[in-house]
């Protein structure tokens, strides 16, 4: 940890702009405790996908919710709460990556105490395959795929998170899926190849 590192600050660029003057009133966000309960897992996973080292993910999650708490009065709850959290998480992740000095994806830690039967091993291998393929992708495509296909966001919500228009998101999503399908096919072909 770096005692002198500043707190990640929110910029207005990270927040959705009011659509109309009528919408400019600030809606009340739910309490931090409720947001934590509902979105902890989402933030935890997203930080891992944004390249925070596995040993730092829990600290980064803390940072996200502490920033949320500190800035709560300034934040606007219009639109997607997940988009708001994503905006904070992206900045926190960037800071953590800079501190660690090693960008890229990291495997998230396994849940402690998880058993390791064959099914679990197969699942771990499939997850690792997808992780590696995502790692090889540029961040725009990767996060589009993660938000829509892994986190189950709607395309408009993902567009809000990523600050892109809908067509761009559709296009990135198609491209990401193609890359992943090819990676899986290559993996399967290697497995089937005689040794």
């Amino acid at each position: 940890m770096h005692p002198t590192a500043p707190v990640p600050n929110l910029s207005i660029c990270d927040l959705p702009a009011p659509a109309t003057p009528e919408d400019a009133r600030v809606s009340a966000l739910p309490g931090v405790e409720q947001l934590f309960r509902e979105h902890h897992e989402f933030v935890w996973r997203i930080l891992g996908r944004l390249g925070v080292a596995s040993e730092a993910v829990d600290d980064a999650v803390q940072d996200v919710f502490v920033v949320l708490h500190r800035r709560q009065a300034e934040l606007d709850a219009r639109g997607s709460v997940r988009a708001l959290l994503y905006g904070i998480a992206r900045r926190v992740a960037r800071r953590h990556r800079e501190r660690a000095g090693r960008p890229g994806l990291h495997a998230l830690p396994d849940p402690p105490g998880a058993p390791s039967p064959d099914e679990q091993v197969a699942r771990m291998q499939a997850a690792a395959l997808l992780r590696d393929a995502l790692d090889a992708m540029d961040e725009d495509k990767r996060m589009t795929f993660v938000l829509v296909d892994v986190e189950g966001m709607s395309v408009p919500e993902a567009a809000q998170c990523l600050g892109s228009n809908l067509n761009t998101i559709y296009s990135r999503l198609r491209a990401a899926r193609q890359l992943l399908q090819r990676a899986i096919a290559r993996h399967r072909a290697r497995d089937r190849a005689p040794t």
Binding site: A5, V32, E33, H40, Q62, H69, P117, A127, L173, I184
Partner: protein, 288 residues
């Protein structure tokens, strides 16, 4: 329109979702850390012009009062300092007692408080609307990260808790606490939640060490730390997670009989636990 994922890719996505999940203990520990840090760092409030003006006026007044007191102290320390005071009866006092002059704004009427934050003077109504400084430098007893805005590790949180969270304890209630502060207190203060397991930073740190050992594959160390944690915090916040982790560790160590016994004991004692499904899978493949 989004096409559905093909079968292979969907299987990988489902695997990733299943694998990349924080454990309940990690979630609880993270929340405890958030509580500790948010407790020490109040929410920033929107600053209005009126509030800024009131703050500036209060700061000027405090500066003036401080300068006056400092000047007077200097005079008091200097030779012949008694000339700065007038004797209460207007003439030479036999016992040397010094009385303040009514109406003299520079009169020093008492000792300088060691810590101005401990002042119990009522806060003017307007001041309560003034922005609270987010990060005060060098606040002894403040939680790690409260001042400089950096993330504390759990070890640092534990150290902070061992020191007694001095600032939070030192500052009495003054009717200025933000809404929800009581709920935050209740979540971290054992006294505030009678009947609930306690949750202290050292308890979090202890369990986290065991988790780290388990994640690193140091199974013997993990088992030892889980047992020590159970002895030190019987019925503690992480008890369910500890029991399940312990059974899983035993299984990984090849102590199948012990693992099953621990698993069965857990399921018998806590049939409604949210970790039940996870517990049932421990050494399940080896059950005939």
């Amino acid at each position: 329109m989004i096409e559905p994922l093909d079968e292979d890719l969907r299987a990988c996505v489902e695997a990733l979702r299943a694998v990349d999940r924080p454990s309940p203990a990690a979630r609880d520990a993270t929340w405890a850390g958030v509580l500790a840090r948010t407790r020490a760092a109040p929410t920033a409030r929107p600053r209005s012009r009126v509030a800024l003006a009131v703050t500036a006026a209060a700061a000027a007044l405090a500066l003036y009062a401080g300068a006056s007191a400092t000047g007077l102290l200097r005079r008091a320390a200097a030779p012949g300092a008694q000339t700065a005071y007038r004797r209460g009866d207007g003439g030479p006092a036999r016992d040397g007692a010094i009385a303040p002059v009514p109406g003299d704004r520079s009169t020093f009427t008492g000792p300088v408080p060691e810590d101005s934050s401990d002042s119990t003077a009522p806060v003017p109504e307007d001041m309560s609307k003034a922005p609270v400084p987010e990060d005060r430098p060098d606040v002894s007893g403040a939680a790690p990260g409260a001042g400089a805005g950096w993330s504390p590790s759990f070890a640092e949180l534990a150290e902070w808790a061992a020191r007694g969270s001095g600032r939070a304890q030192r500052r009495p209630e003054r009717g200025r606490r933000r809404p929800g502060a009581a709920a935050l207190d209740a979540a971290v203060d054992p006294e505030a939640t009678p009947g609930q397991p306690s949750l202290r930073a050292e308890e979090i740190a202890s369990f986290r060490q065991a988790q780290a050992a388990l994640a690193d594959g140091r199974l013997d160390a993990a088992l030892r730390q889980l047992d020590e944690h159970g002895e030190r915090y019987p019925g503690g916040f992480f008890e369910e997670e500890r029991q399940v982790s312990r059974a899983a560790t035993l299984c990984k160590l090849g102590r199948v009989g012990d693992a099953r016994a621990a698993r069965d004991e857990f399921l018998r004692e806590r049939p409604a636990s949210h970790l039940g499904e996870r517990a049932r899978q421990i050494c399940a493949a080896k059950i005939p």
